[in-house]
C-alpha cells in the first residue's frame, strides 16, 4: 500500500455505500449447489416412500449421502481476503475496513498493516452469501479482495 508521508489521519465511521446485489438471489438459473439440495430431498423422499411400501433398503441411500456432502460444503466457512496493492493509500484502506466491517480504527489498522506486510489479510469468515456481499463492497472501494473457500 501507498503512504505519502506515512501519515495516517484520524478516522471515524462513515455512511456505507448502498445498492449491492446478491449473486445468490440474482442468478437467472438455479445455482448448481441449490439444485443438488433440491434433488437430494426428492431422492430422500422417494427412498422413504419405497421403504414404506416395500420394506426394503433402496439404492438411493448412497446418492443421498453424496448430496448431503454438498449441503455440508455449503456450510463450509468462506473467507473474505484482502490482498496488498501498492497504489491504495494505507489511510484509505483503513477507512474502508471501518466502513465495510464496522471495525474500530485499531482493528482496521491491524488488518491494513497485515495486508501491507504479509500481502494479505483475512478480514472476515462465515457463510457464502454475506462473504460475497463483503467482497462486492470492497470491490466498490477498489480494493483487491477475494472470496476463498476454506474447504
Amino acid at each position: 500500500m501507498h503512504s505519502p508521508g506515512g501519515h495516517i489521519p484520524p478516522l471515524q465511521q462513515f455512511e456505507v455505500v448502498p445498492l449491492y446485489v446478491s449473486l445468490s438471489t440474482m442468478s437467472r438459473e438455479p445455482r448448481p449447489d441449490i439444485g443438488c439440495l433440491a434433488q437430494s430431498k426428492e431422492i430422500k423422499d422417494t427412498a422413504h416412500a419405497l421403504d414404506e411400501k416395500a420394506g426394503t433398503v433402496t439404492t438411493a441411500e448412497p446418492t443421498v449421502e453424496k448430496e448431503t456432502r454438498s449441503e455440508e460444503e455449503l456450510d463450509l466457512p468462506w473467507q473474505v481476503v484482502v490482498h496488498n496493492d501498492p497504489v491504495n493509500l494505507m489511510s484509505y484502506v483503513t477507512m474502508v475496513f471501518q466502513r465495510v466491517f464496522g471495525y474500530p480504527r485499531e482493528k482496521a489498522e491491524r488488518h491494513m498493516l497485515e495486508v501491507h506486510h504479509k500481502g494479505r489479510s483475512v478480514l472476515w469468515s462465515g457463510m457464502r452469501e454475506p462473504a460475497e456481499l463483503y467482497v462486492q463492497q470492497l470491490h466498490g472501494y477498489l480494493l483487491l479482495a477475494t472470496l476463498e473457500n476454506t474447504g
Binding site: 501507498h2 505519502p4 508521508g5 501519515h7 489521519p9 484520524p10 478516522l11 471515524q12 462513515f14 455512511e15 455505500v17 445498492l19 449491492y20 446485489v21 449473486l23 440474482m26 442468478s27 445455482r31 448448481p32 481476503v81 501498492p86 497504489v87 491504495n88 493509500l89 489511510s91 484509505y92 477507512m95 460475497e132 467482497v135 462486492q136 470491490h139 466498490g140 472501494y141 477498489l142 483487491l144 479482495a145 477475494t146 472470496l147 476463498e148 473457500n149
Partner: protein, 163 residues
Amino acid sequence: MEICRRDDQIELFELDPFLAELLRQIPASADPNGMPAAEQRIFSSPTNGKEPVLCAEWKQYVEPELRRLFQTATQTVAADLEQLNGNEKSLANRSLRIPSKHADAWLSALNQARLVIAAKNDFTESELSDQIRSPIGSRRDLSLFQINFYGFLQEFILRELGG
C-alpha cells in the same frame, strides 16, 4: 496551491494552471476503457481462480453495478470540475470548491484514476514509493506525479472526513 476545509466544503485555492489541468484530467484518467491491464485491475476477480461459476455470475451481475457506481462518482467529480472551465488558457490561479457531500465521489474517482494510471504505466512498487522524484522529464514522470498529487488530495479529504 492551498487547501482547507471551509464550512461544508473543501476549498482548493491558488491553483496554478498546471495543477488545475491535472485536476481537469481526473475523469478521463479514471476511465479504464481500451486498457486491458487497467480494466483487469478496476474489475478484479472475486476469487483466487477456483470458482469459475462465481466468476461468470460476477461478470454478469456485479460488474455492471460496479461500473455504474464508478461512473456516478466520476460524473459527480466532472460536474464539480466545471468550475475550472472557461479560462484554460489564462495563466491566472484559480479556485475549486468541493462540497463535503461529494467527498466520497472524489475519493472514488481519485482512486480510480490512480489505479488506472498505475496499471497503464505498469509502475513498480519502488517507483510508487518514490515521493520526491523530480523534475518531470517524461510522460512517465508526469504520470507518477499525477498519482502522487491525486494521493495527496485523497489524504486531505480522508483527514477532513475524519474530523
